[in-house]
Each structure stands twice: as C-alpha cells, then as structure tokens.
Symmetry: C2
Subunit: 363 residues, 2 copies
Amino acid sequence: MAHSISIERTVHPKQKPAADQLGFGKYFTDHMFIMDYDAAKGWYDPRIVPYQPIVMDPAAKVFHYGQTVFEGLKAYRTADERILLFRPHRNFQRLNQSNDRLSIPPIDEDLALEALQQLVLADQDWIPSAEGTSLYIRPFVIATEAALGVNPSQQYQFIIILSPVGSYYKEGIKPVPIHVESHYVRAVAGGVGTAKTAGNYAAGLKAQEHASANGYSQVLWLDGVHRKYIEEVGSMNVFFRIGDTVVTPALNGSFLAGITRESVLQLLRHWNIPVEERTLSIDEIVEAHANGTLKEAFGTGTAAVISPIGELFWQGQALRIGEGQTGELSAKLYHTVTGIQKGTLEDPLEWMVDMTKQASVLK
Amino acid sequence: MAHSISIERTVHPKQKPAADQLGFGKYFTDHMFIMDYDAAKGWYDPRIVPYQPIVMDPAAKVFHYGQTVFEGLKAYRTADERILLFRPHRNFQRLNQSNDRLSIPPIDEDLALEALQQLVLADQDWIPSAEGTSLYIRPFVIATEAALGVNPSQQYQFIIILSPVGSYYKEGIKPVPIHVESHYVRAVAGGVGTAKTAGNYAAGLKAQEHASANGYSQVLWLDGVHRKYIEEVGSMNVFFRIGDTVVTPALNGSFLAGITRESVLQLLRHWNIPVEERTLSIDEIVEAHANGTLKEAFGTGTAAVISPIGELFWQGQALRIGEGQTGELSAKLYHTVTGIQKGTLEDPLEWMVDMTKQASVLK
Ligand SMILES: Cc1ncc(COP(=O)(O)O)c(C=O)c1O
Ligand SMILES: Cc1ncc(COP(=O)(O)O)c(C=O)c1O
C-alpha cells in the first residue's frame, strides 16, 4: 500500500494508568491520527502526531449542526503477544455509510485501515493484556468549516484516538435489568438512526438518565411510529431466545446495524441454531414471558460483546428472564466471541486481522 | 445586576467586511463571551475575550455524542443610532428548555442576557445599518468533558459569538419554491425535535441537499409517524392563509417553537385576524389549493423573518400559491415585524429591548 502517513513521535510519553483503573474511554494514548479535508483538495495530509487538543473556530459546524460520525472497535493483545483487530473493515464500511447519510465525503477505507494499524503499532505498549481488557479505537469525523449556514461543511477532520479499556465485567458476565422506554424515542425510519452519528446519542441521554435513576442499567428502545416494535438496547443490538429459536429485530432503517450483531448471527447459523431476523413487538415478548417460552435475552455490542438481560421493566411490570441468571446460549456466545477476539479459540469465520503479520507489510 | 463579567479587549481589531459582502454567518466580530461549567463548581468565570479558537480535547463529548444546544437572535441598529434586540428573554428561556432536554445544566437567564448585551456593546461598531442588515447573535453550549462514556458531560462551555449579516432579500421580499419531503424525517414526538440542538440540523442536511439539487430552496417536513401532518420548513415555522383564516401547526412536541412564529401569532390576534393552531395535513393543503381557498403560505424565522412560499412540490405535483407572488398578508407581516425591529414602527407588543437605555445600567 502506498499511502504515506507521516509520523511525529511524542517526546513526552505519558504515564500509563494501572490495569485496574482503566474503566471505559477515560485514558488516551500518546498518539492520534489526523487527516484533513477541503472541498477543493479532497482528503489530504494523513499524519500520526502526539495526542493533542484540537484547535477549532467557535463557528465550526460540528458545534452548531452536529455534522459528525464515529466508529468504535477494539484491538486485543493475545497471550502469545500478537495484536488482533476484530473485523476492522466492517467498521470503515459502516463509517462510509454514516458519512453518506450525513453528507460527509467518503474516506478511502484502505487508507483508514492502514492509518489505524500504524497508530495502534505506534502505541502498542498501551494495549493492556489482562483478561477482558483491550485497546478501544475511536475513529471520528467532524465538520470544521467556520460558517453558520445550515449546509454541509466544506472542511472536515478525520481523527482516530485510542483508549485502553478495562474489563466490562469485573466479576464475570452478569445479567442487567433493562427499562423498556415508553415516553422517549431515539430515532425513526427516515431519520438518522442507522448512522453512527452524535445526535442519536444526545437524543438518548435523558431516557438513560431516568432509567439509571430507577436502577436500570440501560434503555430498550421501541420504534417511534407504533411505539411497540423492539429496536435496540442503549448502545447494543438485542436478541431473544424464544423456545429454541433466536430472534432479533430485522434491520429496518431506524437502528444501527451492529457488527457484533452480524457476527453473532453468523455464529448461530454456523452452529445450526435457528435464527430469525424479523419485526418483534414488546407484546410478543410479554406473551413469551407469560407462557414460559422466553428463555434468554441479551444485548450485543463492541463494549460488552454479550450483555445478558436479567429483567425487563415494562409498564409497571418487571419481567424476570432466566431467573435473573446468565442463560446457556448467552454464556456460550460470550465465551466463544471473546475467545476468538483474544486468540484463545479458533476463528472459524475469519474475523480477526492479525496485525503482527501486517506489521512488516506496513514498514 | 451584580454579575461581574470580565472583559479583555482585543489588541488586533479585525478589518470589517464591506456591507455588500456580508452574507449569513461568514464573518465574526472582535470578541466573544465564554463561561465554563464544572459539575463541582457550577457555571463560573463569565468573560468577554478576543474572538479566538476553542482548544478542546479530541475526546470532548460534543464531538462524539452531540450534547450541545444553541440559539439565534438579532441586534438591529436604528436610523437614530439606537441598538435594539428582538425579544432576547424568549431565546434564553428556550435555551434552558433545550438544555433540559439534552441533560445540560440550566444557565442563569439574567446573566446570559447581560453577557449578550455587554458583548454586543463591546462590538457595537460591527452592527451594520443598511436596510435588511443586522448583527446575528449565536449563543451555544458544548459538552467539553474528555471521556467516551455515553452519559451527560461533567463540563461545558457556554459561548456567544456575533456575526454581522446581510439582507436576506437582496432584491426585496420574494417567494420561494419548497419541496415537501416524503422520504426523510427530521424528528418525531418523543425525540429532540423541540430542542434547538445540533443533531436535528445534521438530520436535515441530506433532504436539503436533494431539494436544492432540484431547484427548491427548502424542505417542508411532515411528521415522522403518519407522514402527512405539516411540521416546519427548513429553519422556519410555517403558516397558511386558507380563506380568511391563518392556520399554523399546533406545537406538538416534534418541532421548534419559533419566537417569530409566536410573534406573528400575537400580531395577527392584535389585528383581529382569525388564527388557528392545529394539526394540518398536506392533504388539506392540496385540497385547499384545488378548491381555490389556499391564498398564501409563508415561513417564519429569525433569519428571513417572513419568507413567502410561491410553490409547494408534493408527489410529482407543483402547487403554485398566489400566482407565485408575495401575498398581501405576508407582505404586511414582513413590513410590520421588520419595521418594529428596525425601530421605524411603533412596538405595540413591547418586543424590543433598547440596549441604548440598558447601556448605562450595565456600567
Ligand atoms: C446505537 C448502537 N447500537 C448498536 C451498537 C452495537 O454495534 P457494534 O456491535 O458494531 O458495536 C452500537 C455500538 O457500538 C450502538 O452505538
Ligand atoms: C428548526 C427551526 N424551526 C423554526 C425556527 C424558527 O425559530 P425562530 O423564529 O425563533 O427563529 C428555527 C430557527 O431559528 C429553526 O431552527
């Protein structure tokens, strides 16, 4: 590959946080990747520089009109010191789908992937190795033109930052209680719900605050039109085991097509477990709970991988699922996906990109 | 008032643009107002400083999760050199309503208004005086905490910037053609459509691009649930004169409660013209057009004040309104509201705040 990405190394490496202090997205590494865009020049000047503040005009469009998209994925350090990425191509494909929806010019996916790998290599000492830890990678694009007209920016920056993150489950995988939201709506068909763009997350803050205040860990979103079809859970897609079939909402144009969701579907089909992607109402879940066929429920996403749901709260009623314990299938999926990611299990679906092999190609 | 706002004056005043070069939101004045927020301290350090870049961590929440709100209003210079603001209290009330929806801590409205006035006074030489020109005022709040967890920021900045803007109508008030949107949706009840927050504008970019490419100046948004009830037009609310009655969509929780809309309603009632705030379907408009009772249509907003609509394009059909000419009532509203704003007409509803009077109070 012939993209020349310049590298300026930091002369002030930071102190690395202790492994048990990591949390999520609190610490950032020594370097970042930046590339600029101007309508006249296209994308230019891809570079790795010391992690540093962004200096931006207060009239920059991102502050006023939210023209911005992002991605989230992880790099893992294996026991034998290899560095693995989980399906990074899919993230950059999705970034460009988000870009298209937000009227942001597309980014060369090969260049983006190469930039990401060079950046991770530059900061490879930051990749934690303890059980459940990883290096979270946050690529994002922001509109930087300093002008208040409501129209697409003429200038952008594409940036990648890295954050070592701790284990999502400090005491092993554990079911969480979820609040089914009946008042607030996150997105609607025809809107930007399928894009990974800032406004969707701002729109969810208030409902999340209410849920947290009532002891629920996340919100389950229903569709904005009928207020009854299941969409997603916080920053995760959602699956239900009803009888012997696994059901997840079909991609309908109002929620994010998760890469963990896609991977879980691949794995279930690989295992010959019956799966259905279809519309799924909250009433059907209530009914399956009542007649005893609702066996398991879980969320899927980059942060938690698999997050079992122990309780759904809906219209004054608490539906306990699987006696509040992690279901058999949820546990098997969690251990399989995280095992593949950490390199302790075979990778039958060829998800992982081994950067150790790529490292020489990049030089 | 006892708020002490510090002032640091620029030592490098900028060259002011020529009156015919102004456009909208392209040039910014010599100073800006900033105030910081921290969860532990509350809002602190209100200050006027030279207009300057914002320096922000790349992990700042505004870039990733769009936790931000804004306002827009104008200051006018009268023929006798007074400086008038149009209903600024209403903007800061609405800012706090937006803040509440976006889980941003409220801002003292008196302090905000005082800050705005001191800033406008500091840059009063920037207020243009030609017909149709004004000083556009953009207060906004951005989440600045550097952390990737999806939850409300612990830190914010409240900023006010100023931009001298040209006349919206270079050749006199003129009707525009509008595209009625049937594919994309801007907002839905239960979402953030009533808040003035960045994500709503990002969500509208794509539809606006399509409309512009087809020669339409703005998009008329329909509701996201039934896809038939009229909501608003681009960055404006919308009114129709049907027979002798003026009809505008009732505030329903999915579009912005415009201050120009409210003012136009006040004026129409003051004139004893029958007005109705109610649900209004696109079908009703098509029917009123067909039976000849659709006399006028116009948008209302801070930028254009009144923007007559000469044509609505809906499902392959172009509905011409008032033979493409500015209607009688639209013209009367435009001249009355702009006359009050510029101080050439009486202000029967006490909308204007005369800063010339306030100036001494502030010192
Ligand atoms: C809104 C939303 N839904 C679903 C997901 C799950 O997607 P993925 O599996 O690609 O992480 C995410 C996040 O990452 C998300 O932000
Ligand atoms: C989405 C939207 N609707 C309506 C309006 C009109 O509101 P106002 O009359 O307060 O300017 C605006 C803008 O300013 C707007 O952004």
